[in-house]
Symmetry: C2
Amino acid sequence: MHKYSGETRLLVATDCIIFGFDGANIKLLLVQRGLEPEKHKWSLIGGFIKPTESPEDAANRVLELRTGLKNVYMEQFQVFGKPERDPVERTLSVAYFALIDIHQYEAQLSEEYHPEWFLLDEMPDLIFDHNEMVRLAKRQLRYKAALHPILFQLLPEKFTIPQLQALYEGVYQTKFDDRNFSRKLLSTGLLVKLPEKDKLSSKKGAFYYKLDQSHYEENFESFLNLVPNPDKFF
Amino acid sequence: MHKYSGETRLLVATDCIIFGFDGANIKLLLVQRGLEPEKHKWSLIGGFIKPTESPEDAANRVLELRTGLKNVYMEQFQVFGKPERDPVERTLSVAYFALIDIHQYEAQLSEEYHPEWFLLDEMPDLIFDHNEMVRLAKRQLRYKAALHPILFQLLPEKFTIPQLQALYEGVYQTKFDDRNFSRKLLSTGLLVKLPEKDKLSSKKGAFYYKLDQSHYEENFESFLNLVPNPDKFF
DNA sequence: ACAAAAGTGTTCTTTATACACCCATGG
DNA sequence: CCATGGGTGTATAAAGAACACTTTTGT
């Protein structure tokens, strides 16, 4: 069984920083830890890697178990491995961040684990090094979103330009000029205008758009400059 | 000892993709594997994580053991964790890429493990998934170097603009316009002109420059556009 | 004197920013 | 009819790309 003799085997977990957007604010999905120590303290959604699964598999399994959601945008961003990070027993954690459409999630709520959404600035203190994980995930999200169109993963299929702008403004905690924002986003060619309007948030109504899926996939790796003055956010 | 009962512990290694630059070409440092299977086949430099060290610690320890070098620029970039990636026993690997000044290395050569430098296009086939690790490390290097001034880590303290350009051209396997290149690099304010010239590579001689260390550290996270048309490299 | 590499300047095009008005509609 | 949010246009500034000639000096 153990063929590299003399080496120490370690527990390896995945933890997932799950971002959601409710149309107005960015939120984070947290659960209460089910075991001692720090039982009932808030925690990221995570779990141990099983012998037959990759870290990706584990992250997807845990995410589905806790939220009911599959095929979620997820990105590995850092291994956390300080020997003392989990006081129970040494555990490495492969951290992922995930982006989900918060309304789609609500429909599939996993009753058993009752996770809850928190506003970024109303988050409770988290167990272990999870606060640090969140800090770095937010940073990574800003970094990646400044260059690549990942934030669409947080929106429903149909969305308006004002919604999209609110999303970017939430991520970067700032206001962008509407005229320049819509021009920039439209100029990427990623958006397809739909004939319908969203009449909920204004009298005039705002046109819905959807992603041009093939254009999106082709240009995903390109360096798009989606955020003005990105430097100031790092 | 094992306090999370019922969970499986795994071997965790680090592997390091070590890039060097000899003034003309980018190279990769490889060693021959010391144990079966695939003994004597070429491999990245790596080793198992010990119970008391973080992945970073392990990567640094292994690097020093094999090359004699400390305080090397190193960046974690991906965990490789397919269950079958090491046929001997399941092993996760935390991959790092490192950038070192090849001439500094030569002075500190570790006799015991006789690692060797290979040109990127003359590399032997590597064990396990190390070919894939190298592919992704090259990609990551290009990505990061297009935005941040990391390639200076591959040069000696004093370097000339033509050397710097040859380095960038090596990383991106293309030619850049000299006039635009030097203007762009000088405009970053990262370079300090020295009064001496390097007379080895031309009759006229090229002025040496060094990094403005404080400016370098302050601007490291900024989005610099160091590479023309970066999109085409991904 | 010439070959070989270093260094510098100008124009043009593209992109980014700043800013101000008209539009559509529900109440 | 007017308040509210949606949508568009233009002028200026900055950055990027393309391109050609002069300088230095070892041989």
